[in-house]
Symmetry: C2
């Protein structure tokens, strides 16, 4: 469940490989990107890629884990920056706003799950962990803020969040709509 702490430090070439692969996988899809292209983009030989990661599947998992680590960092920062416990509950939606201003191809983890149906794929676990972590974070924050029914509220906020990020590429204003509704839900659950 923990993300990023147990990862071995990357060599310079390993770093470049992950960076290039992460971008390519996100922009074009995982299955559609070959290891030859990743090696070329990162200025590295295919031999080095396989010496570092062993297989394409492992590289996919490493890329998702790295993205998850970076995303959780942003979410935690948004939570820490919020002015009150109630505000903290919707802080992930603030992080989402800045996140989607950079990444306009939807959620990399949902996209990965679309391409990796096999639960034994190492990337599958990383993606599902990212989702469960967010749902649990909502519950934790809702409980800390003294919201009524924190578990049900957390699931609602989670669904809203995922719907927003998944439909963001359609440019229908879903991120703003979801954030507004989320704030209303938290406000309603905090009154009394």
């Amino acid at each position: 469940m923990d993300s990023g702490s147990d990862a071995p430090p990357l060599t310079p070439a390993g770093r470049r490989i992950v960076d290039a692969a992460e971008e390519l996988f996100y922009e074009r899809g995982i299955t559609a990107v070959g290891v030859d292209l990743i090696a070329e983009r990162s200025g590295v030989t295919k031999r080095t890629l396989y010496n570092r990661f062993g297989s394409k599947d492992s590289l996919v998992a490493a890329c998702l884990a790295e993205r998850d680590r970076r995303w959780r960092e942003e979410v935690r920062a948004a939570v820490a920056a919020s002015g009150s416990a109630e505000e903290a509950v919707t802080a992930p939606f603030e992080a989402l706003r800045s996140w989607t201003s950079t990444y306009t191809r939807g959620c990399a983890f949902l996209n990965a799950l679309a391409e990796l149906p096999d639960p034994r794929h190492p990337g599958h676990r990383v993606a599902t962990d990212q989702k469960r972590w967010l749902r649990d974070l909502f519950e934790e924050l809702a409980t800390a803020a003294g919201c009524r029914g924190p578990s049900a509220l957390a699931t609602r906020l989670f669904v809203l969040h995922e719907g927003a990020v998944a439909t963001e590429p359609l440019a229908l204003g879903s991120v703003t709509a979801a954030a507004d509704l989320a704030r209303e839900l938290v406000r309603a659950a905090s009154r009394g």
Copy 2:
């Protein structure tokens, strides 16, 4: 925008190809499934597949269009079966409940968009049309029911719907949570 009406009728072999391909694409991902496997599964030669559809990309679009047609039928039936104009607004969530009891790999159209980033891909258009149609249907139904702010309400319902279907494979109860919240939103927008 219209779905299914302008499609040429399929030959028996064409029918089997679409059926087999639709299932394989959904279960394993579009890029991961080759035309040889589709031909084998549908008991047809590859020659016939290419005589019918011309290319894999066209077949992908045909499969998505067929799925869209079937899904809209179910949604329209749910709308027609609802007891009141207010109930009709959340009818797509009822259709979603039965839809996701059959299909547990999330939304085929969001999954397709994850794999087909190129807007020139014929399947890309089919998928985005499906999404816009649903959002517009929500607005139409909300307007007919006399809801306040039908456009903003429609976007909220749409985000909820997409979040539910996208996260349904995670088994976190998102479909029920989304349906409940949707009903509350419509009720709140109908009072007065």
